[in-house]
């Protein structure tokens, strides 16, 4: 699904965010990019959905080289990827329904279908009762769940999550990971960037550990500790 070949990203003359990154993520995998703040995790994710271009190297996403991709093809690439941003990127003056509605408007989905999808996804993330509230009136965990729901609006082949448990307490972090695992169980490739090694260990998924822009360790999947989704695959309810 994703392949990095000798990818380097430098800002300015000498600020090296990523250095000679090489890895391969298979379709349907759940992978962590772990490391401390400033390790280059966000940059790596941004390279995948072509929000950034590498200084050198090639990146394949779903068989397409995103580095050589013409600008006009970028929207199509992004429509196949769901992104959960670290800062959520929710519109503060719009309701939850309007925040999610923005996606179906961009995709040109008929409003009746789009509204049904919004309702199903909000049910999935447990926020059906807050559909008309603005993000101001939601807790950090609830905003995170809205961001997850929005990332799923386009039925993505690939879901990228940047610090999805960043500001959450342990219980909520587990809840978000449960949700992401369920999404992955449905067939969506999931890549999660996190600084929380506790979550990484608990989940037992394949992990690339980044430090100052380099992959310093690759932790293979641990089937004995691998966290499995609960037997209630609520994601299926959200499939239109």
């Amino acid at each position: 699904m994703i392949q990095f070949f000798h990818v380097t990203k430098t800002y300015g003359r000498d600020l090296e965010a990523l250095a000679d990154i090489n890895f391969r993520i298979q379709k349907g995998e759940f992978v962590f990019i772990a490391g401390p703040s400033g390790a280059g995790k966000t940059t790596l994710l941004r390279l995948i959905f072509r929000d950034e271009l590498p200084t050198s190297g090639q990146i394949l996403v779903n068989g397409r080289n995103v580095v050589r991709m013409p600008e006009r093809a970028i929207p199509q690439l992004r429509r196949s990827i769901g992104v959960i941003f670290q800062d959520f990127k929710l519109l503060r003056d719009r309701s939850i329904a309007e925040n999610l509605g923005l996606v179906y408007r961009v995709l040109g989905i008929p409003s009746a279908v789009g509204k049904r999808k919004v309702a199903n996804l909000l049910r999935l993330v447990g926020l059906s009762h807050k559909v008309q509230l603005t993000p101001y009136k939601l807790s950090g965990g609830e905003q995170q769940r809205v961001a997850i729901a929005r990332a799923l609006m386009n039925d993505p082949l690939l879901l990228l999550a940047d610090e999805p448990t960043g500001d959450l307490d342990a219980d909520l972090a587990v809840e978000v990971m449960r949700l992401l695992s369920e999404i992955n169980a449905r067939g969506t490739t999931v890549v999660v960037a996190t600084h929380d090694m506790g979550v990484v260990r608990e989940m037992g998924r394949r992990t690339f550990v980044l430090k100052t822009g380099r992959v310093v360790e690759e932790i293979p999947e641990d089937s004995t500790t691998r966290w499995r989704p609960s037997p209630r695959p609520t994601v299926e309810d959200a499939i239109i």
Binding site: R79, F85, R105
Partner: protein
């Protein structure tokens, strides 16, 4: 179809959200187009007046008294043979006096002291429009003056020339002012849309990140600019029409025709359509400048 509906909805929602800014832009565009419209109406009516005057333009050839009939016939033939002459009429001394009496209606007593008829016989010559240039008229006048039996030649071309020059200057001025104001309108719309773009910067970023094309992002702003421009031009046309009706009413209250014109005319349908279209184009252009800059950044 859904995409188009979303774009239209977004444009209208944007306008509603920034209604005061939009109203300011519409008002400014309206003032610009109002000034352009005033120039258009004035030059158009002066142009019509000029054409009318040109149509009615004639050279009067005053004849010496006591010309024999044969010489008069010969003179008439010589004048008619000139290519610049479109038509001519003859006014005898008696007819000239009768005309004068008619013009002095109510004051005929002024003529009582006159002994014999002092007014000369004359030819009124209509000249082809193509020959109504100062050079051609000068040549024709010189030719007529040299003819035997001609006492004097008179024509009011100087006035027509002055009016034509005034209309030319007004048109040029209108065009320059129009261009300057259109440019100002483009900048005003551009600034209004830029503020709207900045106000929606987060939304645009999210749209971009979830796969919106540049056109999809631009379209609502483009439409917003076109609506502002079109409404501004429409408002200007309404104000112009109101001012036109008020002026016409005033003119109709005044005794007698004004400058030979019974009533002035408003803009034609195609000029109205052109102004509305120009408003929309100005708005779209201003909008494209702002969004283009933002998307490149």
């Amino acid at each position: 179809m859904d995409r188009l509906r979303y774009i239209l909805e977004d444009a209208l929602v944007n306008l509603r959200r920034s209604r005061w800014r939009a109203l300011a832009a519409i008002g400014t565009i309206a003032v610009s187009f109002l000034i352009v419209g005033i120039f258009l109406i004035i030059t158009r009516n002066l142009g019509a007046l000029l054409s009318e005057w040109k149509e009615q333009f004639q050279i009067t050839v005053f004849l010496e008294d006591g010309i024999p009939t044969e010489q008069l016939a010969l003179l008439k033939k010589r004048i008619q043979s000139e290519s610049a002459v479109k038509a001519m009429t003859y006014t005898s001394k008696e007819e000239a006096l009768q005309n004068f009496r008619r013009e002095l209606k109510g004051k005929e007593s002024l003529l009582e002291g006159l002994g014999e008829n002092p007014l000369p016989a004359s030819f009124q010559i209509r000249v082809h429009e193509s020959s109504q240039t100062p050079e051609d008229l000068g040549k024709l006048s010189a030719f007529l003056s040299r003819l035997e039996g001609v006492e004097d030649v008179m024509y009011g071309q100087e006035w027509v020339d002055r009016l034509a020059a005034a209309v030319r200057i007004l048109r040029l001025l209108g065009l320059s002012v129009g261009l300057a104001l259109s440019l100002a309108s483009v900048l005003i719309v551009s600034n209004t849309i830029r503020l709207a773009v900045y106000a929606r910067a987060d939304e645009i970023e999210i749209m971009r990140l979830v796969g919106a094309t540049k056109m999809h992002i631009r379209a609502p702003f483009l439409l917003e600019g076109m609506i502002q421009g079109g409404l501004g031009a429409g408002l200007a046309l309404l104000l112009l029409y109101g001012a036109y009706r008020a002026t016409m009413w005033q003119l109709q209250q005044a005794p007698g025709p004004m400058l030979g014109m019974e009533v002035g005319s408003f803009l034609d349908t195609h000029w109205i359509a052109a102004m509305l279209l120009a408003g929309a184009v100005v708005g779209a252009f201003g909008s494209l400048i702002s969004v283009g800059r933002f998307l490149r950044a």
